[in-house]
């Protein structure tokens, strides 16, 4: 219960201190994040790739982008993923700690947006714990909840595909984490304007 007191003097890695320092100011930047994982259990499953893109002033900044594939060697043989995905794809590849560090550097103090974003955050926090860092401090917005709020629906869940169809978002044929992040970004802009919040 008094964990936070213990943490005060804890010696974090350098990048984490920098990350924490960023929260002294408030950000107007949103980072739309999509995470691919091996499954839905934060304890057992691992992250395979990130795709992220920035939104500032209701404009998706194509240049403000982050994508990385994590080389999860211990899963290479039994997770059914093809070599093409892990080895031959042109995406940049990093080992887990480096990938998470790059991600943390990238997101900074932005508001995170995603589809069921809390699961993504939980997965990231799991790795951060291994790296002896704290938990992510970013505010987070979930487009599924935004949609439910817009229509006052509480008893039904919506997959990303459901939402994409509902809002008639043009879809690309590919389906990487980056493509998902882009779709989520468009959904986010639509929901944001319809919910009328700044």
């Amino acid at each position: 219960m008094l964990d936070w007191i213990k943490n005060i003097n804890k010696d974090y890695p350098e990048f984490w201190k920098l990350y924490l320092a960023k929260f002294e100011t408030k950000s107007n930047r949103y980072v739309i994040l999509s995470t691919e994982t091996t499954g839905l259990n934060p304890k057992k499953d691992v992250i395979l790739s990130f795709g992220a893109i920035g939104v500032v002033n209701d404009i998706i900044k194509v240049g403000d982008n982050f994508e990385v594939v994590i080389l999860q060697y211990k899963y290479l043989h039994d997770n059914g993923l093809s070599n093409e995905f892990l080895i031959e794809s042109k995406l940049s590849k990093l080992a887990e700690p480096q990938a998470i560090q790059a991600l943390v550097d990238y997101i900074g103090n932005a508001v995170l947006v995603g589809h069921r974003i809390h699961f993504d955050i939980e997965m990231i926090n799991e790795v951060l714990e291994k790296m002896e860092c704290g938990k992510l401090k970013n505010e987070a917005l979930d487009i599924e909840i935004m949609h439910q709020k817009l229509y006052d629906i509480t008893n039904k869940s919506f997959s990303l595909d459901d939402l994409i169809k509902l809002y008639k978002i043009p879809q690309s044929e590919k389906n990487s984490a980056s493509d998902d992040a882009y779709s989520i970004a468009l959904l986010f802009l639509k929901l944001k304007s319809r919910l009328g919040f700044k």
């Binding site: 043009p170 980056s178 639509k190």
Partner: protein, 638 residues
Amino acid sequence: MSNSIAENIANFLKEYPPFNYLSHDELIQVATSIGVVNLDKHKTLFQIDDKLHDSFYVVASGVINLSVIADAEETLLNKCYAGDVFGLRPFFAKNNYMMTAKAREDSIVYAIPINVFKPFVAQNSQVLDFLLESFATNTRNPFDKENRGKLITDNVYTENQTTEIQYFQSLAYNKTPIKIAVTTVIKDAAQLMTENLIDSAIVTDQNQPIGIVTDTDFRSKIANGRFPITNTVEKIMSSPVITVPENVSVAEAQLLLLKHNVSHLCVTADGSDKSDVKGIISEHDLIVAQANNPGVLIKEIKRALSPKELKQVREKLTDLIQASIAKNIPLPHIYNISGEIITAIVKRSVELAILDLGSPPARFAWLSIGSQGRKEQLLLTDQDSILVFEDVSVEKYRDVKDYFLKLAKRATAILEKVGYEFCPNGHMASNMLWCKSLTDWIKQYNSWMKTPGEKSNDISSIFFDYEIAFGEGKIEDAITDVIFNNSKNNVLFFDYLGNDTLRKNPPLNFFKKFNLEEDGEHKGKFDIKNRAIMPLVDGARLFAISLNLRGINNTYLRFKQLAMIDPKYSEIYLNCADAFLILSKFRTLEGLKNDTSGDFINIDELSKADREKLKNALGPMKELEELIKDKFRLTQFS
């Protein structure tokens, strides 16, 4: 680091000019700098007088309307679809935007920063040319004089320019007119014109125009014996000549012809009659200059060999309607013109079907029904038609009906390709029910009129407005005879028809507010078709049939005619005629703006003055309803 989103956008852009002139690496560089903007339907990206953005735009999906406000009216300049470039003003000018860009449907646009793209423009002349051209087509703004002059010299317009440009383009005309002296003998002048196959000659003095002789002069002054052909042309020439400068536009020339009621204009070096003659413009030149002239369209239809060609004509017709409305040409004229053109399209579609199937085994008539039957169709709506074939012997009946069903299927399919959707209620000649012999049709009309309500309470009023598009006029006459014979003293029929007219929901509620749609796709909008226009259409038809008004199918003309033959109520009829035009104009403008049937109007988007105008136009309907109740003694029903 790689950026697959930029990669995707680059792949999209490379399909479209001017981006197709750039290399892949350059495109990635551009794409990486892009900002993606989401625009909900009706959302404005920038409007007139907004400060310039630091980006220009490419439509990624959806449609963006570019419009200007002229004479307090919003005029659509251009619709931008996926891949189209717009908002180029920051490249070429420093002052504020001259037009409004608004999403017509949910859209996504890419904002490309000017400073990123500028180097590519400087390095690549093809890119520059393309941008200049698109800027010019996006700049059809009469107020933007400053830039126009420059740009027109910079680039050559491609073929697919639109009406307005053609309208303002300069005219091609005869640059070597026949010039004669005042002392020329009439007979010699006529001979000269005949040899040159030209219908006019300019009378000059030291190459300055002092008069003109035309075919009309020969008819009105010579042929009727007023002057002998041995006189000099001085006696018969029209003087002074209306002169124009060399680079006159089609629009100006047309106005001058109308204003001075002449058939020719003389072109001079400085536009006055005190300078050298440079050429002559005839009415014919004007017609040729306007490829979208109705006559030309009909010619194109008659020559069309495929649905695709017909579709192109239909698209031109939309442009023509749009331009006509923008120029405030009275709606009845537009109805007439578009009615003729659409009838020609239907006729050609049937002809094409016949060319495919071989000659028909019996005589028949293809009737357009509903709005086209009334010649009140400006927007693309669904198609309604029936087919009536002459009676044939019993053993041939099956084959004949088979043929006509096949024919109708083909013709309606062609029309569908032209852009007329199939009627959702199946009111088409390709439906077994509505493709039958004359006897069967007579039976059908008899049952509708003598025993209305036997099968259902609805009366198919749509079948009482028809217009022959192809075939035997006599068959149409026969149907008309049946209707008017049946209508004599037919209280029951008028009871049903009258009640059908009254059944439409009132447009205004108790508090004189618009009754808007409460749910569904068009929630919050005003259903102008069913609440305002249809009651007038139905009312006009009701009175027209009951007062034996044959051969007039148009709602406006019906009211006008009713005012004449039923003078007691002429005021009501005339008010209804005007109201019908006003309401139809609202609907047409809405339809053209949004590419829809215009049935639903967004009241909030109207200006206060327009709202009042619309409300006032709903008044006459109330009077008409009272008149219907009174005339047909319907009070006990409603």
